[in-house]
Amino acid sequence: MNTLLERHQGCSGGYALLLEYVVCLAINIGLSDTAVMDMMVSTLQQQRSVTEQLRREAAIKRIPVSVAVADIVRFISEHEQEDCLLVGFTSQKVNPFREKSSCTVL
């Protein structure tokens, strides 16, 4: 059983987690080598699908961090004045938690 794990230690990166997870699960619940081999065939399919997925992800266009940060900063700056947790209430009228002095129609 240990050699199965050893062979999979060649896999690095987060995607190998899937393969490792399934194989470890099989070993931990005491499945025989044959049963684990069967699971590995389906994990071969999963390996294919994980690799295909990563091909897609490797191909995406990434923008520079400086541009991304600039956009986030712009959004925050444009909305800061409306952010009550940041600037508080502009007047007590808009504060729904204020003590009400007289009856109001809701």
Binding site: C11, E57, V65, C84, F97
Partner: protein
């Protein structure tokens, strides 16, 4: 023991090469650091929120809270087997809904305010109609969504007729509530899906999982668009940035992080003064404050841009399990194992 066949070996090599390519491409675009680029912005003050309402009513740990789209009502779920809908402005209970199973882990309020949903260790998601009562006077149960092979960890309404769920069987499901059928059902992660956050435009969503990754999805597709690595333990909560370009995460690894979608990498790494894991996170209306509920009974806050800790909100006497920020940003609701719910503003 038979060796790896040629295909498996080739796939593994390709996988490692692709991972290396992704990392290299990310580094290529990393031409700036978040805190440095924001160095000349004004500082934000230390967080000054106080408890405006203390909502008492649950008699056991409260596990989840979620605001309605009206920024006034919220729903909480507790191990006492009840959902309570609160009017946070007055502090009053609007409705108490008894549940068939007390093991509730997650609640959701439809943006319209017409429905609430909950689920947990009963491996089901149950939806109630807030405006219609059944014979006993409790909110009418409209759907019991079953068939999960694991606990329900998170749910979010897309609208009054569709709900998305994440569960311990590692899947995401989207249900058509009118038909009572699954529209979409796919394996999402290599571990329990723990948290879902919808983008402001509702076209994409991010998920967090115990497999330590977060993934970005298109609502209409079954394959993830991007995967984000970085956390070193379970990701417990994800929250989209209101600008839609980034998302915050909070994790068992005692950090909160900010990931940017278009540059496909982590921008911010937020640590607290203490040493406790985070259960939940949220961003203020503009996204300048990042808030996270913690195992140390407090809610930590940071300046998202300058990556600086801006204080803690202390009032709870036990782990803070969940926080929710009102859609219009006026308040923050938090709930805890101390059986209380607090509204901060």
């Amino acid at each position: 023991m038979p060796k790896d066949d040629a295909e498996t070996t080739a796939l593994k090599k390709e996988l490692n090469d692709l991972i290396a390519k992704c990392k290299a491409d990310q580094e290529k675009v990393a031409d700036a650091k978040l805190a440095e680029k924001c160095g000349d912005m004004g500082d934000v003050q230390r967080i000054r929120l106080v408890v405006k309402k203390s909502l008492k009513g649950h008699i056991n740990k409260v596990n989840s809270v979620h605001y309605s789209g009206d920024s006034r009502h919220c729903v909480t779920g507790s191990l006492d087997g009840k959902l309570i809908i609160w009017d946070t402005w007055s502090g009053n209970k609007v409705q108490v809904i008894p549940l068939r199973s007390a093991w509730v882990m997650s609640v959701a309020f439809a943006p319209s305010g017409n429905f609430v949903a909950c689920g947990g260790m009963d491996n089901m998601c149950t939806v109630y109609d807030v405006n219609n009562r059944d014979a006993t006077g409790a909110a009418k149960m409209v759907r019991e969504l079953a068939g999960y092979e694991g606990f329900l960890s998170s749910c979010r309404f897309l609208d009054d007729t569709h709900i998305m769920t994440g569960s311990g069987d590692m899947k995401i499901c989207v249900w058509d509530l009118e038909a009572g059928k699954r529209e979409v059902d796919f394996n999402a992660h290599a571990g329990d899906v723990v948290s879902i956050s919808l983008a402001p435009d509702m076209k994409t969503f991010v998920t967090g999982s115990v497999d330590r990754t977060c993934k970005l999805w298109d609502v209409r597709a079954e394959k993830e668009k991007q995967t984000f690595f970085g956390h070193e333990a379970d990701v417990n909560s994800v929250c989209y940035h209101p600008g839609g370009q980034a998302f915050a995460t909070a994790s068992e690894d005692k950090t909160a992080r900010l990931f940017d979608i278009r540059s496909d990498q982590q921008l911010g790494h937020y640590t607290p003064p203490g040493n406790a894991g985070f259960t939940s996170c949220g961003l203020s209306f503009s996204g300048r404050y990042l808030l996270a509920g913690s195992d140390d009974n407090s809610i930590h806050s940071w300046d998202t841009l300058k990556v600086a800790h801006t204080g803690t909100l202390n009032a709870h006497e036990n782990r803070v399990t969940s926080i929710s920020i009102a859609p219009n940003g006026i308040a923050l609701a938090s709930c805890s194992w101390d059986q209380s719910v607090r509204v901060w503003g």
